[in-house]
């Protein structure tokens, strides 16, 4: 694995067979970007990147992944919690340049207050990248009328034998669920916490190390309880 800096952008190059696991937790207002901007993946390499954006953090996250060797596998996922005036921009370019690579993206976020979220996710499958599997999902919960989420999932596919999908949703907390929980004595506040936790929890499943996963879960839960 090699790290380099090009035009202010940190590049990590994974040699064939390398694997990389990174968790980035953005907790402080000063953390406005990721320390990695570009990932180049060799044959059979594996990358697993999790990004958690905590309340109070405005950031511009830009990640480009170039899959240059066959059999590379990349998974990028994240949670963003934006209860106030945050401005969060996430942009992922997933470039499938060669055959037999797979990628998964899952971003889930909660926007309240007058926060603003922009999600741009692009999957590009080159003409030669047959047998590509590429999936991308972005789901958002809006807590207020004044928060704004724009999500633009994009697929550009130039090969014909691929499995690709993308999906994006923007929704609100379901009131039927809330009434059901309240009718069992769960307070409205706690019902909302359960809903928000269950909404973001699929992302935790992507964090392989149990100890790290628990730490992230517990910190996220604390943040959600304060929303």
């Amino acid at each position: 694995m090699q790290e380099a800096c090009m035009e202010g952008n940190r590049v990590i190059t994974l040699a064939p067979g390398d694997s990389l696991r990174k968790l980035f937790m953005l907790r402080e207002a000063s953390e406005t970007s990721l320390p990695v901007g570009h990932l180049v993946m060799g044959a059979g390499s594996k990358a697993d990147i999790t990004v958690i954006v905590m309340p109070g953090v405005s950031c511009d996250i830009h990640l480009t992944v170039d899959m240059e060797g066959p059999g590379a596998e990349c998974s990028v996922q994240g949670i963003y919690l934006c209860p106030d005036e945050e401005n969060v921009r996430i942009c992922v370019d997933m470039n499938h340049k060669v055959p037999h690579c797979s990628s998964r993206q899952l971003f889930k976020g909660i926007a309240g207050g007058s926060s603003r979220v922009d999600f741009y996710g692009k999957i590009i499958v080159s003409k030669d990248a047959q047998k590509t599997e590429a999936y991308q999902e972005n789901h958002n919960l809006l807590l207020t009328d004044t928060a704004r989420v724009d999500t633009k999932p994009q697929l550009e596919i130039y090969a014909d034998d691929v499995k690709c999908s993308h999906g994006a949703t923007i929704g609100r907390l379901n009131e039927e669920e809330q009434f059901y929980m309240r009718s069992r004595g769960i307070s409205l506040k706690e019902a909302r916490v359960l809903q928000m936790l269950s909404f973001v929890s699929p992302v935790f499943g992507h964090i392989p190390e149990p100890a790290l996963r628990e730490e992230v879960e517990s910190e996220t839960e604390k943040a959600i309880r304060r929303l």
Binding site: E176, E177, F179, Y180, M181, R182, S183, R184, G185, I186, S187, L188, E190, L194, Q195, L197, S198, F199, S201, P202
Partner: protein
């Protein structure tokens, strides 16, 4: 002390400016089981929703007193803590929330409202196992997401399981028999009967006689067009079955 548990006086309620309940009066004493029957659209489900505190209905008149307190001033969760339980006609699916987590949160909220400490994990699991066995739910269900992918019968058994966990003073069973086959109906009815004590009351809302073959009511009321038009003993069930709702006014 009064043995009146619930007193409904002149209750009127509407949804989207359409009046559904047009003056309902009902008194339920401790230990009594009341059946509310009526044709579709009579307001049966509206009555149960208003009692449980559903916010999309507007109460436009009348009063509801539960254990001496103004029920209509309470939030849905406060009503639950006070001892009201609604078994939903259409139980809601809650993706991502396990039955264990859901019930632990609910039971501990009830305990907190009573000033008690949260239940110890071991005691809670023991209680879950007992109550699940009681409605013949397999232990694996505790890990499942609430009602997600459940069959009709499983959903209704899950309602009665929750009722057993929360031990309410007044259970309102809204069309619990709808969508149930005979075996599931028997399990549900046996559950309700086993939970019934001289201190506990129930309102059984149903369109048909068949649930009342298993849960025998002390009183039967016919709700038509937003009003209770007839109240009698359990013999009224047979009359309805024979003559239909049209003849009852």
């Amino acid at each position: 002390m009064s043995d009146i548990l619930l007193e409904i006086k002149g209750l009127r309620a509407s949804i989207d400016d359409k009046e559904i309940l047009k003056g309902v009066d009902l008194v339920i004493r401790k230990g009594e089981i009341h059946a509310i029957m009526g044709p579709n659209g009579a307001g049966k489900s509206t009555l149960s929703a208003v009692l449980a505190g559903r916010e999309n209905y507007t109460v436009t008149g009348g009063s509801v007193t539960f254990m001496g307190k103004d029920l209509l001033a309470m939030s849905p969760e406060e009503r639950s803590w006070a001892g009201i339980f609604l078994s939903f006609q259409y139980p809601v699916e809650i993706p991502g929330v396990s039955i264990t987590n859901f019930m632990k949160t609910a039971v501990n909220a009830h305990r907190e409202a009573k000033g008690l400490e949260p239940l110890k994990a071991g005691d809670f699991l023991k209680m879950m196992r007992e109550k699940m066995a009681f409605v013949q739910m397999k232990p694996e269900f505790s890990k499942r997401e609430v009602n997600v992918g459940f069959s009709g019968g499983e959903k209704k058994r899950n309602e009665i399981f929750q009722m057993a966990m929360l031990d309410p003073a007044l259970s309102i069973l809204d069309e619990t028999d709808s969508g149930l086959d005979v075996d599931a109906l028997r399990i549900v009815a046996n559950g309700v009967n086993a939970l019934h004590t001289p201190e506990k009351s129930a309102i059984v809302i149903t369109h048909y006689q068949r649930l009342l073959d298993y849960i025998v009511p002390d009183a039967v009321h016919v709700l038509k067009d937003g009003r209770i038009v007839r109240s009698a003993g359990k013999e009224l069930v047979a009359e309805i079955e024979e003559k239909g709702y049209d003849s009852i006014n």
